[in-house]
């Protein structure tokens, strides 16, 4: 889809790497500009120690289909190569803290002077202005400050984050939307743009409860408390045990009839008290229901309950493990998981997130690059001759 676009990616964060991964996976030529020692994201997440894998697996996932050029931006020669890359790019992405961007002279003013049509996206934790401009962040800080960690967990315990890098990935996905939108304008002849993307704001404006809870507070003056279990919409809802684990169900008032059908119309649930106005918000009725429901769930497996719920059009999800995903028939048959070979290693990771019917969409052209793997190719494309490249290398401007 994006085969005609060239992206220069100077970023060093999970969020920004996920944004440019989406561009690269759908066909854009993403040139990853790395410091000589490599992007620090190469060290993030679980280490490959104890396995046969020699490279960082999270990095491998975030950087599929990208090329890498090693540049020392402290060196004038390195900065000159960056400038030439940006002159030929449709999109330039960085994640530099404000002071570093200024010190290196990689600011919007300079970038737009080099290339007035370029889309310059600065993807940073807090944006390029404001009280927290110079703060650092990470997954847990984004979730804590982004308005929802406070309401996640139990009232008597500390707030708890989601697993892995959910907030950072969300930020990257929204950054990709902002970049693609700006590309539409660029392609319509409206020129370049500067996008100041703050992870903190992406979180605050996000749909996973955050923004709704913020508006709920505006409307009522009430803070959404930290509550375990399903907290909205009536019962049955939440996570219940079954014979081989757990499942989650949401079948509030609108789904009551279907739910009763799923359970085989037990006489105890045909009493009109269950459908009286407000019944679905009653804690005592919920307790009564749960004891009946648990009798049914404990005799069934996750899969049996999931299938019964789907047949009755009730919302249920089985609580899967990672192993369950690796052997799931739907994921296997839809190409949702792929195995990428790098040298002797085989990395299993998520594959196509979506499909176009009339165009080539997601594809895997190459594994994530090693640091500077494509330096010479890229410099040649910029029209540099071998002696020039040799000189840059001797001076330490490229790696």
């Amino acid at each position: 889809m994006l085969e005609n676009f060239r992206v220069v990616d100077l970023s060093e964060s999970i969020s920004a790497a996920f944004a440019t991964k989406q561009l690269a996976d759908f066909g854009a030529d993403v040139v990853k500009v790395e410091r000589p020692g490599g992007d620090p994201v190469r060290q993030a997440g679980a280490k490959a120690a104890g396995s046969t894998w020699s490279r960082n697996p999270l990095f491998q996932y975030l950087n599929t289909n990208k090329r890498s050029i090693g540049l020392d931006l402290e060196h004038p020669g390195g900065r000159e190569v960056l400038e030439r890359l940006i002159r030929g790019a449709h999109v330039f992405v960085d994640s530099l803290p404000h002071d570093q961007a200024t010190a290196l002279g990689i600011t919007w003013e300079r970038v737009t002077a080099w290339n007035p049509d370029v889309i310059h996206a600065a993807i940073t934790p807090f944006g390029r202005s404001g009280a927290y401009r110079d703060w650092r962040a990470s997954e847990i800080v984004l979730y804590a400050m982004g308005g929802e960690m406070y309401s996640t967990g139990l009232a008597e315990r500390e707030p708890i984050k989601l697993a892995g890098h959910v907030s950072e990935i969300e930020v990257g996905s929204v950054a990709a939307v902002a970049i693609l939108g700006a590309l539409v304008a660029q392609q319509a002849g409206q020129g370049g743009d500067y996008l100041d993307i703050s992870g903190f704001e992406v979180q605050m404006a996000g749909i996973d409860r955050r923004s709704s809870s913020l508006l709920g507070y505006q409307y009522t003056g009430e803070i959404t408390p930290r509550r375990g279990g399903w907290s909205a919409g009536g019962f049955p809802a939440g996570i219940y045990p079954c014979s081989d684990g757990y499942f989650e169900i949401s079948a509030g008032p609108a789904y009551w009839t279907r739910m009763v059908a799923m359970l085989g119309h037990p006489p105890a649930l045909l009493d009109p008290k269950w459908t009286a106005p407000g019944a679905n918000g009653s804690p005592s009725l919920r307790e009564e229901f749960d004891s009946l429901f648990l009798e049914w769930t404990m005799q069934r497996t996750r899969t049996e309950i999931w299938e019964a719920a789907q047949a009755a059009h009730v919302f249920v999800g089985p609580l899967n493990s990672m192993q369950d995903l690796l052997v799931d028939p739907h994921l296997a048959q839809t190409g949702a998981l792929v195995t990428v070979s790098v040298g002797k290693d085989q990395y299993t990771m998520p594959g196509a997130p979506l499909r176009f019917n009339r165009a080539q969409g997601w594809r895997l052209s190459r594994a994530a690059p090693d640091v500077g793997q494509d330096t010479e190719d890229i410099l040649t494309e910029l029209g540099m001759q071998a002696p020039q490249v040799h000189r840059l290398r001797t001076e330490g401007a490229i790696a």
Partner: protein, 434 residues
């Protein structure tokens, strides 16, 4: 050019998107497109109330509203008003800048107007239960026949494949994806996990991105396309690290709670009621600085490597750090530590967000109004654009607010015809249901 002159219209100005979305994931996608300047028209039906969209029910009972958290039961001042569907926070938060027309798509007359809208629109986004569109007779083939430049974005839970007919909300997809098993407190089973909806977030942004890519593709091919964004497959990105770890090590990753690999990390109590700060220490140097700030003698001899390699040592460190943080203000402490190069942040609740100095500096919250709610501060745009700033055209859209605009201006329905449609209950501004 001065900066003012160089500003131009929104990226998607002049593009029209039909919005058949429900709940959160779909409306979030169309919100992003509206933020980019597209004219998004919600096509709604006064005889069909999709639950979890403009509320859980058209007219929820007072007892039900009282039992619900603010996000669900938080109608302004806890009062559902005469038209509760225009006052629900979990709808209004994404409904800015959109338009709404009511058409009964189960009737021939509604469908014929819908097809005329297809001819003058650029695309459609939907995330209904599987087969909802098929039952209405809306298929890619028919859309393409009407308008070969049309872009159809569908956001099924699972999409084509063995689970094609399966339905799910975001929280069930999180369960399916294994996120729910991993995001529990490490010392508890998952049954008391809070309900979260991260796949709505990621599904919505992916669908918006898919629409934009299709639009970019259309520039060269002059043809539209259909995109399927199966939210389960798309949501794998949210567990990518755990999935990769499982494949790599051959054993199930453990629930880590607030901890992370190879760092010191946690959420610690602060002074005041239910106040918290999160900390992350990535290097021995940062650890030395944190120890100096904390001034707790028990920590002095502990090396970074000991803490990150032994969870019992980390537990002990957490207890000592908590004693110290309990005496500190969370915002002031985060500020102090950030100033010393340590990653930290206060846990921000919904009241505090509105007086956060950084969000104020960046004018994040935006005053919006609709007829049934009055004026409030709403969460604003997710990004800043220098040349084409996100501008909210209007407040959260009322049901049927744009019937006149869509039917009379866009489709040139006559006065008499429009009045007849109102009389026959084909269009309106109130649900016929309770």
């Amino acid at each position: 050019m001065t900066d003012n002159q160089s500003r131009s219209s929104s990226p998607l100005a002049g593009l029209r998107v039909l919005d058949l979305t429900v709940a959160w994931a779909g409306p979030y996608a169309t919100m992003l497109l509206a933020d980019l300047g597209a004219e998004v028209i919600r096509v709604e039906n006064i005889h069909v109330f999709p639950s979890m969209t403009r509320g859980m029910q058209p007219r929820p009972a007072a007892e039900f509203i009282r039992s619900q958290i603010a996000q669900v039961g938080g109608y302004p001042d806890r009062d559902p008003g005469h038209r509760p569907w225009n006052r629900c926070p979990f709808f209004n938060v994404h409904a800015r800048s959109k338009r709404s027309v009511t058409l009964d798509l189960r009737k021939e007359e509604g469908m014929s107007l819908f097809w005329r809208l297809v001819e003058i629109s650029d695309g459609l986004i939907e995330n209904n239960a599987p087969d909802t569109l098929e039952k209405l007779g809306i298929t890619w083939e028919r859309l393409r026949e009407r308008n070969d430049q049309f872009i159809l974005v569908r956001m099924p839970a699972f999409g084509s494949g063995p689970y094609a007919g399966y339905r799910a909300l975001g929280t069930h997809l999180e369960a399916f994806l294994g996120q729910t098993m991993l995001r529990r407190y490490p010392d508890m089973d998952p049954s008391m996990n809070s309900t979260t909806f991260s796949t709505d977030f990621l599904g919505g942004s992916a669908a918006a991105a898919a629409f934009l890519m299709a639009l970019l593709g259309r520039r060269s091919t002059a043809r539209g396309c259909a995109v399927e964004v199966p939210q389960a497959q798309n949501g794998l990105a949210l567990v990518a690290d755990a999935l990769i770890e499982r494949a790599m090590r051959g054993q199930e990753p453990e629930a880590r709670g607030n901890r992370d690999h190879s760092v010191i990390q946690g959420c610690y109590p602060c002074r005041g009621e239910d106040q918290w700060v999160v900390l992350r220490v990535e290097t021995p140097e940062e650890w030395a600085r944190l120890k100096a700030q904390a001034g707790q003698p028990e920590l002095t001899s502990l090396k970074f490597i000991e803490v990150v390699t032994d969870s019992k040592v980390h537990d002990r460190v957490d207890a000592v750090l908590s004693e110290w943080t309990s005496t500190q203000d969370s915002a002031a402490l985060a500020d102090l530590l950030q100033g010393d190069g340590i990653i930290a942040g206060p846990v921000i609740d919904h009241e505090r967000a509105y007086r956060d100095p950084h969000l104020a500096d960046r004018q994040f919250f935006v005053r919006l109004e609709n007829e049934d709610c009055g004026t409030h501060l709403y969460p604003g745009a997710a990004w800043h654009s220098l040349r084409r700033p996100v501008a909210f055209q209007r407040g959260p859209v009322l049901l049927g607010e744009d019937n006149e605009y869509v039917l009379r201006e866009l489709l040139a329905i006559s006065d008499a015809e429009y009045r007849r449609m109102e009389r026959d209950g084909l269009i309106g501004t109130e649900y016929s249901l309770h």
